[in-house]
Symmetry: C2
DNA sequence: CCGGGCTTGTGACTCTATTCACAAGCGACC
DNA sequence: GGTCGCTTGTGAATAGAGTCACAAGCCCGG
């Protein structure tokens, strides 16, 4: 179990633990934290926390828990957050602007170093303290100030070309918001955030739920339990259960 | 294999197929599409496409492929996209504004029906043709115009409370952008989109790559292959390989 | 320095997802 | 009407993730 390969699913949860630990460190109440407690904060179960952390090494103390500061450091290191990474946003529209103005990235060690667009009317304007540059200057810019991460916030059409330009400029990690599929060589990591897909997934489960509850209702009516269609409203969020959020990134480059 | 349970992973890919099929339908070149071709467009492999589609039923024709229109219809239906779903955005800041102004949702069958905030200076202003309402009016509003989906775009602090309010107003599907963990009863589906986590995941693989390549470089230097540190730049995106993007949602309600 | 309580770390198991590989079935052409 | 090429649909094999449950190990109090 020791050494190398940290499962993708674990990598995707490390940032969640990190955030929980930061909260603990801030309130300075506890110097250590148990897997149970961390699990509660992160919304996962304790066994998972322990297994995840065990991939990093044996950093806990039996009978006690994990030293908050030390674990914080280890996760930070493992995620490569010890140094600020520079990112460029390409496509300064609605979304690009919101991203550029977002303060939270800096806190987490990401520095938005430049904004690029192709629209003449956008180039040269100032957004969140940065001047929007012409996409043509990307390579040149990156040569001077290496960019670790490229963020694509253009419409779907442009995305593939932008990705290629980013790669050509030396960027190896890409986050895209465009709804198109972006294809890249196997040594490049792309993550895609697609809000429409998220909504569609919600729609699927919503519909499923409706199907089930209307079936149940029909049943009850048949069985004479209900007079007609009455409220099926469920109790509010008092006894809110913990809810697992997974976001598994993928590296299988799945070529063909 | 037939009937009911469509795996989560499959659900998450259906929207991708849907989009590919829409593109095909639009260009009206082909009436049918093979799993191979669809796989190419969606950036996954053909076996996966076939298995995914087989969960919906046997909609293909051996030796021929899938009828584009028919498949389109089936996926649309399965995802529950035959009717427009109404969504509300809570938190009209940088991100909320960008979301509200985004045209793409409407195209995909989602209607942003209302915007809510708590900030006096924001309430009453107009954003993307909608007047921002006071969050206190949420329940009332939802009673009149049922909301299928709630989108949380507030800072992390507010998110849990907003979620509870949404649930109280009858919303069963939630998409949150806040970096906090949102806990909900098991009958509510939450999906979380966390951009900072995405960047941190990229950071992890970036760092990993650097570790590997510098190790390799060190090796080469030892073996006398390289004079010093020279360009390790990889070829551009000519022979771009297909790249699998997974986003598995989770429904295990993982309570404790 | 011993025992009890507590919490980690991890093998073993289970469940889910992916991939392989091939028989079955369709259409077209002779 | 037979055969050939192509493509689906799916069992079986494999890989990956999650969960269980417990021995090992630490701390503290006596
Ligand atoms: N706005 C949202 O809330 C939202 C939600 C979901 C998805 N998205 C996705 O994010 C992307 C951007 O959305 P948006 O609303 O900001 O769009 P937008 O139209 O407001 O902005 C796009 C920007 O990209 C620029 N651009 C176009 N082609 C370019 C190219 N080849 N290189 C560089 N820049 C280019 C345009 O000039 C424009 O400034 C889209 O792919 C969209 O599907 C956005
Ligand atoms: N802007 C981005 O690009 C971006 C990127 C990543 C993550 N996020 C996340 O998205 C969320 C919103 O980000 P933002 O940049 O739009 O923030 P913001 O500060 O610009 O806007 C937040 C809005 O929410 C409102 N709000 C605060 N508490 C509220 C409550 N309890 N109920 C209703 N409304 C409330 C505020 O009045 C404000 O209008 C944050 O959680 C942030 O972490 C944003």
């Amino acid at each position: 179990m020791r050494k190398r390969p940290i499962p993708e699913a674990t990598v995707a949860r490390l940032p969640v633990y990190l955030r929980s630990l930061l909260a603990l460190a801030e309130e300075r109440r506890t110097l250590t934290v148990s897997s149970e407690e961390l699990a509660g904060m992160a919304g996962v179960n304790a066994a998972k926390v322990r297994k995840d952390l065990s991939y990093l090494g044996s950093y806990g103390t039996r009978g006690v828990g994990y030293d908050v500061e030390y674990l914080l450091y280890q996760i930070t290191r493992e995620l490569g957050l010890t140094q600020d990474l520079h990112a460029a946003i390409v496509g300064v529209g609605n979304l690009g602007r919101a991203l550029a103005s977002f303060k939270g990235f800096a806190e987490r060690g990401f520095r938005i170093a430049a904004l690029f667009d192709v629209d003449e009317t956008v180039i040269g304007t100032e957004v969140a303290g940065l001047t929007v540059r012409d996409l043509d200057e990307l390579k040149e810019f990156a040569a001077e100030e290496p960019l670790a991460i490229g963020i694509i916030a253009t419409p779907a059409d442009g995305a593939q070309e932008v990705a290629e330009r980013l790669i050509d400029a030396g960027v190896k990690s890409i986050l895209t918001f465009a709804s198109s599929v972006v294809k890249v060589p196997p040594d490049i990591v792309v993550r895609k955030v697609d809000l429409s897909i998220e909504l569609q997934i919600l729609s699927f489960y919503q519909q499923r739920r409706e199907a089930i509850s209307s079936a149940r209702e029909a049943n009850r009516v048949l069985e004479g339990e209900l007079p007609g269609a009455a409220g099926l409203r469920t109790g509010a969020a008092e006894h809110a259960a913990s809810f697992d959020e997974r976001r598994a990134g993928t590296l299988h480059s799945d070529r063909r």
